[in-house]
């Protein structure tokens, strides 16, 4: 498992690529150095022997012979060659038996191969040589071996092999170490992910605290896990809430049906039991529907329905819908609306919000009371207020009132799903509005401050026409 893992690891592959690149560039540098050094050395040798030959050619014969002899005898390392031949090619002096074959007698440097004289068995070596015809017809040959260049090449190759191999090995080793470490961290993350997938949702990816790439990645994955855990918890608590709140009506229905089945005698009794059971089931269904709606709104999916909304028209429409109920209960429903311009929002949801607030206020206001709806521009933004002069909500209960399912003690004799204000809170949140519950002394005032809401301008949307403009047309004036 280890070698394949290692080969697949990104950091190891990177190390191999780097080693290859490093080796290639080192090789290139060495070749370049050798090429430069050898070139200049060759040019120096060539200039030297060409110069020697040229200078000696001008000397008298005896001096040339001495030059040749001196040169040969003083050269212990057999680096140079020098020889003098008669015009017919006969040997006069020097360490060459004959003019090297293929060496033109033109005073130019040529590369040729010469077998060293005297010591037999030595291989012919590569020599740079000049053959020059002297004024008296004899031929002077001066040469020098390329042995030093050979040595240079060997040394360069040795240096290369000594330096390059360890460097490549070192970079490979670094790659192995790095990728082994990376592998260990990947394995740790994998193991944790595996545990999370098997249900241990509270597990988090390990963070070393060094702030490196892995840490940053793990941190953001951990934040994602936090959010997922929060959503799951919410889902679970929604489930718990549904289960809890449905058990009550369903238990009642079940008990009633069971008792009617066992004791119920007359058709009328059966019918009454069935009617009450159906009402109980309807209430249970209404709770499910309301909860799902709240969840849908909280998920923010309804933003797609946003457009320019005239809030004063929405207030007017809600007033029109609820006025008869207020009249029925001897409550005066008063609206005070200031023009506040259009807001970006969901018309239907805003209507539902105001409707729920009115419904709530009307429910808790005693006969003869007043419910006041105010819409005005405040320093902080457009504000909607619904005030009643009912019993009010105690200070310590105000926050909880907006929470799902909570119903204060005063709620005992008012029917409903208990979700109205939760829905209001969800809709307000969707619109970046802030809800506060205050004292109307006596009574309760719920304010919705559209703080973060965008003002709309230009484009419009068909909203319910303001009631006032239609009213004159519809009410007969021909009496």
């Amino acid at each position: 498992m280890f070698p394949t893992d290692l080969l697949r690891a990104t950091s190891f592959r990177l190390a191999i690529a780097l080693a290859a690149l490093f080796g290639a560039s080192t090789l290139l540098i060495f070749v370049f150095i050798y090429w430069q050094t050898a070139g200049s050395e060759t040019r120096r040798i060539e200039a030297l022997i060409e110069y020697d030959a040229k200078v000696e050619a001008g000397e008298p014969r005896e001096l040339i012979e001495r030059f040749v002899t001196n040169r040969v005898t003083s050269d212990f390392h057999h680096l140079t060659y020098a020889a003098l031949f008669e015009a017919d090619g006969r040997y006069v002096a020097g360490d060459l038996g004959q003019i090297p074959a293929g060496l033109p007698v033109d005073g130019q440097v040529h590369v040729t191969r010469i077998a060293p004289s005297g010591e037999s068995g030595l291989a012919p070596e590569t020599v740079r040589a000049v053959a020059r015809r002297l004024p008296d017809g004899s031929v002077l040959v001066v040469g020098r071996t390329s042995e030093e260049l050979e040595r240079l090449r060997e040394e360069v190759a040795r240096a290369l092999s000594l330096g390059l191999l360890p460097a490549i090995l070192l970079s490979l080793a670094t790659g192995v170490v790095l990728s082994t470490r990376a592998n260990a961290r990947v394995k740790a993350v994998n193991d944790t992910a595996e545990r999370i997938m098997h249900g241990q949702l509270r597990e988090r990816l390990p963070i070393r605290g060094t702030g490196d790439d892995f840490d940053r990645l793990s941190a953001s994955v951990n934040r994602m896990l936090d959010e997922i855990e929060r959503l799951l918890d919410e889902l679970k608590s929604t489930g718990d809430e549904i289960a809890h709140d449905l058990r009550t009506p369903l238990t009642r229905v079940r008990a009633r049906l069971e008792n009617t089945r066992r004791f119920g005698g007359s058709i009328e009794e059966f019918e009454a039991a069935i009617d009450r059971s159906m009402a109980g089931l309807d209430q249970a269904l209404a709770i499910i529907t309301a909860l799902l709606r709240i969840r849908e709104i909280e998920a923010g999916r309804r933003r797609s329905g946003f457009s320019a909304v005239d809030l004063s028209a929405v207030v007017a429409a809600a007033e029109e819908l609820y006025q008869p109920i207020a009249e029925d209960r001897d409550i005066s429903l008063v609206t005070r609306v200031q023009p506040i311009g259009k807001l970006n929002g969901d018309h239907d949801l805003l209507f539902e919000m105001i409707g729920n607030l009115l419904d709530n206020a009307l429910k808790y206001t005693p006969r003869g009371g007043t419910v006041t709806v105010t819409l005005e521009e405040t320093r902080e933004g457009p504000t909607l207020r619904v005030a009643d002069n009912g019993p009010g909500i105690p200070l310590e209960e105000r926050e909880r009132v907006l929470l799902r399912f909570y119903r204060s003690a005063r709620d005992q004799y008012v029917a409903g799903t208990g979700l109205g204000l939760s829905l209001v809170a969800a809709i307000a949140k969707l619109h970046d509005a802030r809800i506060t519950i205050g004292d109307a002394g006596p009574g309760c005032v719920i304010s919705v401050l559209f703080k973060g809401i965008q003002r709309s301008s230009g484009w419009d949307r068909a909203v319910e026409p303001p009631i006032a403009t239609v009213q004159s047309g519809a009410t007969s004036s021909k009496a």
């Binding site: 529907t289 799902l292 797609s304 539902e352 239609v470 009410t475």
Partner: protein, 241 residues
């Protein structure tokens, strides 16, 4: 002065014998629907899958389809779209377990004529079927008449015999809706949807309050009631024989 009637199967007599195709995969639900609608005099055929439903829906003779949205083999919306593409324009009522305004819009866009979310009251289903089968009176009419009631849509005047009735705009709209559907049960949800355009009113009994006000204006002291509550279902505007 409460005018309450119990539901009577006889009200469905006008469209009785209408042939309805019910495409619903849950057989228990289907059985109850068939039982309830047969009592109204409708003849029902049942299909328990999308494919079988589509095959039956292509045969002529059905006056209305009831289509469940979630069906095996072929979902309800695809079925309706397929029918509409084949130029079959029989009215369709969609039954769906998926609530939500957007879902409703999707259903109607696919070619449905009405959308009812499960669970529903069987009486609600019956009322909506009746509404689909009997299209409202000619929309070009400018004066509606039901018994002694008269509604002038141009002058915006309502009269009962010679007595003029003063109506608020919403009451006028409500009365117009009822007068276009005389002797037919209209449910609260239908009124909220069609007269108020609200799919989610906090209280369905809002409609009762508005209807109560309208009734007090229409049925003056000593006059025979025209507007009735139908217990547990909704309202009906009718002239008792």
């Amino acid at each position: 002065m409460e005018a309450i009637l119990a539901e009577s199967p006889a009200w469905g007599a006008v469209t009785a014998n209408a042939k309805i195709l019910l495409i619903e995969d849950d057989c228990e639900t289907a059985d109850e629907i068939i039982r309830a609608l047969s009592a109204h005099g409708y003849a029902l055929t049942h299909a328990d899958s999308g494919q079988r439903g589509l095959r039956l829906a292509r045969t002529p003779g059905f006056n209305l389809l009831i289509v469940d949205r979630m069906l095996p083999e072929m979902d309800g919306l695809t079925l309706i779209k397929t029918l509409r593409e084949e130029n079959i324009y029989v009215p369709v009522l969609i039954l769906s377990g998926i609530a939500g305004v957007d879902e409703r819009v999707r259903g109607l866009k696919a070619g449905g004529d009405d959308y009812l979310t499960k669970p529903f009251a069987l009486s609600e289903l019956a009322a909506r079927i009746e509404a689909l089968l009997r299209r409202p009176s000619d929309a070009r009419e400018t004066v509606l008449r039901v018994g002694p009631l008269e509604l002038d849509l141009i002058d915006r005047v309502a009269r009962r015999k010679d007595r003029e009735i003063e109506l608020l705009p919403r009451e006028f709209k409500l009365l117009e809706y009822m007068m276009r559907r005389p002797s037919r049960v209209v449910t609260r949800d239908m009124l909220l949807e069609r007269v108020w355009n609200y799919a989610n009113a906090p209280h369905a009994n809002l409609v009762d309050v508005h209807m109560g006000k309208l009734r007090r204006k229409i049925d003056a002291e000593g006059e025979i009631s025209l507007l009735y509550n139908v217990r547990g279902i909704g309202f009906i505007l009718r002239v008792l024989d």
